[in-house]
Symmetry: C2
Amino acid sequence: MNIGNASERSGLPAKTIRYYEDIGLLKPDRADNGYRDYSVSDVHKLRFLQRSRGLGFSVEECRQLLALYEDKHRASADVKSMAQSKLQEIDRKITELRELQHTLNHLVAHCHGDQRPDCPILENISGSS
Amino acid sequence: MNIGNASERSGLPAKTIRYYEDIGLLKPDRADNGYRDYSVSDVHKLRFLQRSRGLGFSVEECRQLLALYEDKHRASADVKSMAQSKLQEIDRKITELRELQHTLNHLVAHCHGDQRPDCPILENISGSS
DNA sequence: CCTTGACCTTCCAGTTACTGGAAAGATTAT
DNA sequence: ATAATCTTTCCAGTAACTGGAAGGTCAAGG
């Protein structure tokens, strides 16, 4: 499929998809006319990149995450320890999102327009960890 | 407190803290010697920025999130609808992190070194939403 | 008091990860 | 055939830092 289609399905702008190719994250086939030709598997990877980037992983981290299932030659122990460290990061991110959620819920519930200067949100905003 | 101390407590590099001041996210006091002087409340905000940036919110989104509890003059309805839309985003991010978690767990559990070329991870990697 | 080292300051340049726009070729719609 | 809508490459600009130079400040030791 063409890049426009891949863009729609992955949620990434065509510009960004080309950029990811430039930096070697993804190498789609080329049609006879020179157009990039994306497979369903390519779109899966793009969607994966769109998500993990949006969740605060750097491009290099995303490259590692992609490598986790692409690199068939990597030793199993490496793959496992890499995945495990990413899983820890993910746990941490989920926890932080829950705390942020809690903070915003508190704001909505308790600071509805009649906020005093000592609104307690500010004291809780940095989380408890 | 000085910027080094604020950096340690917030998890943000001093460089980044100065940058956030440049773009108007935070205006610490200045001591007589010209050094920036951070309050506990400033550190809370910095920690908050460190977290929300790491969770994939843009600087402009972080500015809005900060405004949610800083801007006492904003109408309550605005604050609420802003918070609510951020809460939706947070829900989505948590869901995506859970899916990513699931994918990596699957990798660790089922692809330990004897991966066939048709490893099922690839098919699930883009999530189910 | 003086110096040494660890702070801090500003400023300017470089990097990462896009993002916009120009110029031109390919495809599709009328 | 021609216009609209793709697509290509290339080059420049932006966002969000990040590193380094040049210099001021401060607390400790001689």
